[in-house]
């Protein structure tokens, strides 16, 4: 479906309720943005893609939930903090993006590769698997074959799983859109 490029040209009503939720979820400086575009000009991801940080922040300010939460652009930020460092208004842009991503995930927008990594952390306590070849290489380097982490401590792993249950994180990995 074709979407208009500029949100400013759209005859849509702002939704302050959504913006308030973004602030509450951790994007507390979102309203300070005055749209100078330093963020977009600094963005290494935007140099390779059509992702524009300035537009994302504007949409969040106006409360255009349906433009923001399902958007693939939301996931093109590498959280490099360059825009956050350079913003002349002190907008903590990465915190705004994190808030939006958390809200998107709660709505069920989670890409399959992300769901898989989240599931790995939730179930094993690590985001990378332990294969036989890893154990062998570790031993060859004089290291303990199984690292002294949750991998060798079932009680510790149980605690991590219980944190997942307490936060509902295990349910997030159950399925996505």
């Amino acid at each position: 479906m074709h979407r208009p490029v500029s949100v400013l040209a759209e005859a849509k009503e702002p939704n302050p309720e959504f913006t308030r939720k973004v602030v509450e979820a951790g994007g507390k400086t979102v309203n300070l943005c005055f749209q100078c575009g330093t963020c977009t000009g600094s963005c290494p991801s935007g140099r390779q893609t059509a992702f524009r940080v300035r537009k994302l922040v504007r949409r969040a300010q106006l409360g255009f939930e349906e433009d923001v939460l399902p958007s693939d652009d939301l996931w093109l930020c590498t959280t490099c903090f360059t825009c956050y460092e350079r913003c002349p208004r002190g907008v903590e842009i990465v915190d705004v993006i994190m808030a939006l991503r958390n809200m998107a995930v709660r709505k069920g927008y989670m890409a399959e590769p992300h769901r898989k990594v989240a599931e790995l952390i939730s179930k094993t306590g690590h985001m990378v698997s332990l294969r036989d070849e890893d154990k062998a290489l570790r031993a060859r380097l004089g290291l303990q074959g199984v690292p002294p982490t949750v991998f060798s401590d079932p009680k510790a792993l149980e605690q991590v799983k219980r944190i997942g249950a307490a936060c509902g994180f295990d349910k997030l990995t159950a399925g996505g859109k």
Binding site: Q48, L76, T78, V117, H126, S129, L137, P148, A156, A166
Partner: protein
């Protein structure tokens, strides 16, 4: 010198264990004691965990902080991602009693002891620069003279600088100073502070976009005459090492600072794990 809880994370112990053996050997040579944090987990990774659920992210991080707190040590990490998560978690929890109360409630539910808010989290480059000192490193460096290095700071070692306060985020020098003390020349190159491309869940979700960013950095490094890429983060390390294998061009060896120091200190080459790199290390 004080001892530190050595936080392992995921990518180092499981994909580049040579970084772990190098770090242990280098810190031993410098007289810094590293103790294992039994039962630690993923930090958890900022890009793919904080993006999904900040309360879970903070709670799992707090559990790792509790392990160090009970051991009575501060934490050292050799990974920018682990540093970002653990530093930021400690920063939030050590200074915000209300938030600590909320997270401690979750920890209690999971059978984890309360976090008191006393742990400091250190990045190994900052620890080497401030606590060990460049001169002590220079005094031990015997090999590795003259190679031209592209030093990659990555993003989460120095940024966000308003809370990390380690070095100038736009024009840093402390990592370069250590690499030069190890007998190398740190090259200037275009967009030196740029992201490797992997962070924020981008490598997992859109690997082609991540690789485009990596390729641009590699092009700039090569144009400057880089003979080696030196990183301070296993995730950047993976992105440059595996990225070059995928691009089938460049062929610039990628070494973590711990491996560079291991070589410079004349440690056994077999213990540095260089043979498991995907981009051949011919130095």
């Amino acid at each position: 010198m004080a001892k530190f809880g050595f936080f392992l994370g995921c990518i180092m112990p499981l994909r580049y264990p040579g970084i772990e053996s190098s770090t242990r050997a280098v810190f031993d040579a410098l007289g810094v004691e590293l103790v294992d944090m039994q039962g630690a987990s993923c930090c958890p990774a900022p890009g793919v965990t904080r993006s999904f659920d900040q309360t879970y992210w903070l709670s799992v991080a707090a559990r790792n902080l509790v392990i160090a707190e009970k051991m009575g040590v501060d934490i050292v990490t050799i990974c920018n991602g682990c540093f970002d998560t653990l530093f930021e978690a400690a920063h939030k929890l050590n200074h915000d009693a209300e938030l600590r109360k909320k997270i401690n409630k979750i920890l209690k539910e999971a059978g984890v002891d309360e976090y008191q808010g006393t742990v400091n989290v250190r990045h190994f480059v900052e620890l080497l620069y401030k606590d060990v000192g460049v001169e002590a490193i220079r005094a031990k460096a015997r090999q590795g003279k003259g190679m031209k290095a592209a030093v990659h700071y990555g993003c989460h070692f120095l940024k966000p600088s308003n809370i990390k306060k380690i070095d100038d985020a736009e024009r840093p020098h402390i990592f370069d100073d250590i690499v030069e003390a190890a007998g190398m020349t740190s090259l200037p190159f275009k967009d030196k502070g740029s992201c490797c491309g992997a962070g924020g869940g981008v490598r997992a979700r859109t690997p082609d976009v991540a690789l485009k960013m990596t390729k641009e950095n590699l092009t700039n490094m090569q144009a400057a005459g880089a003979e080696v890429i030196v990183d301070c983060c296993p995730f950047c390390h993976l992105q440059y090492d595996a990225g070059q294998a995928q691009l089938k061009e460049f062929g610039i060896p990628v070494l973590h600072l711990s491996q560079i120091l291991g070589l410079a200190f004349g440690l056994e080459k077999e213990k540095l794990g260089l043979e498991c790199h995907l981009t051949k290390v011919n130095i």
